[in-house]
């Protein structure tokens, strides 16, 4: 079974530029998550989708971050404009069912963003 795919794997941009990340979840997984992982810390949830609807985006900095999951499959996360503190690994995860507490989340390899 193919895992969660993410691209690009690495991205270097200057502050105030824009960047977009792409995620393809495991086939058939209804729920998709985007996490931000700052170096030396655990992942922090940014947004959760169930199919193509947003379940939780309470920790998404909406003034600069946006995400969409058109057609309930692939998802993109965008940052515009980027700040230095956005340097982190952006992880995408997916789970089979409706995002309940015992629904195992499978993570992709992440995109490492460096903002100069």
């Amino acid at each position: 079974e193919a895992g969660v795919a993410q691209s690009p794997r690495y991205k270097i941009i200057e502050k105030r530029q824009s960047v977009a990340f792409w995620c393809n979840p495991i086939s058939g997984h209804a729920t998709l998550y985007w996490y931000q992982q700052i170096l030396g810390q655990g992942p922090k949830l940014l947004i959760q989708f169930q199919n193509n609807g947003v379940v939780d985006d309470s920790q998404l900095p909406k003034d600069r971050f946006s995400a969409e999951r058109l057609k309930g499959v692939d998802s993109t996360l965008k940052i515009q404009p980027a700040k230095l503190e956005d340097s982190a690994v952006y992880l995408c995860a997916s789970s089979l069912a409706v995002g309940g507490p015992v629904d195992t989340q499978y993570f992709g390899p992440g995109t490492r963003l460096t903002v100069l």
């Binding site: 969660v4 729920t31 998550y33 030396g40 810390q41 655990g42 992942p43 922090k44 949830l45 959760q48 379940v55 939780d56 992880l91 995860a93 789970s95 409706v98 995002g99 309940g100 507490p101 015992v102 629904d103 195992t104 989340q105 499978y106 993570f107 992709g108 390899p109 992440g110």
Partner: protein, 113 residues
């Protein structure tokens, strides 16, 4: 602050020894806990989970212990191997959170050959 944390940031063990990684949580409403392993350059990988109605669960070479009285979680790895070298995170959630996991900072496990 975060509701989940770890006692030790790094742990070094000899190959073949047992490893114990500890985690404290503060949210008494948490009822589901998961341990993840993250190797360099990869995303977190599920290891084992436990619900709050249990105090012990065993997998292949791994055991998770939950002490709700002191809000403490531990991961025991038997016969640690070089391939176990990674950062280990505990994560917690509760029934009303729709799967919103709260991760701790992680413990880096290094296995000496």
């Amino acid at each position: 602050g975060e509701s989940v944390g770890l006692h030790l940031p790094t742990l070094s063990v000899q190959e073949g020894d047992n490893s114990i990684i500890n985690c404290a949580y503060s949210n008494s409403a948490s009822d589901y806990f998961i341990w993840y392993k993250q190797e360099s350059g990869k995303g977190p990988q599920f290891i084992i989970d436990i619900r709050s109605n249990m105090d012990k669960r065993q997998g292949q070479r791994v055991t998770v212990l939950l002490n709700k009285t002191v809000k403490h979680l531990s991961l025991q790895i038997a016969a640690t191997q070089p391939g176990d070298s990674a950062v280990y995170f505990c994560a917690e959630t509760h029934g009303g959170s729709q799967g919103n996991l709260i991760f701790g900072k992680g413990t880096k496990l290094s296995v000496k050959p």
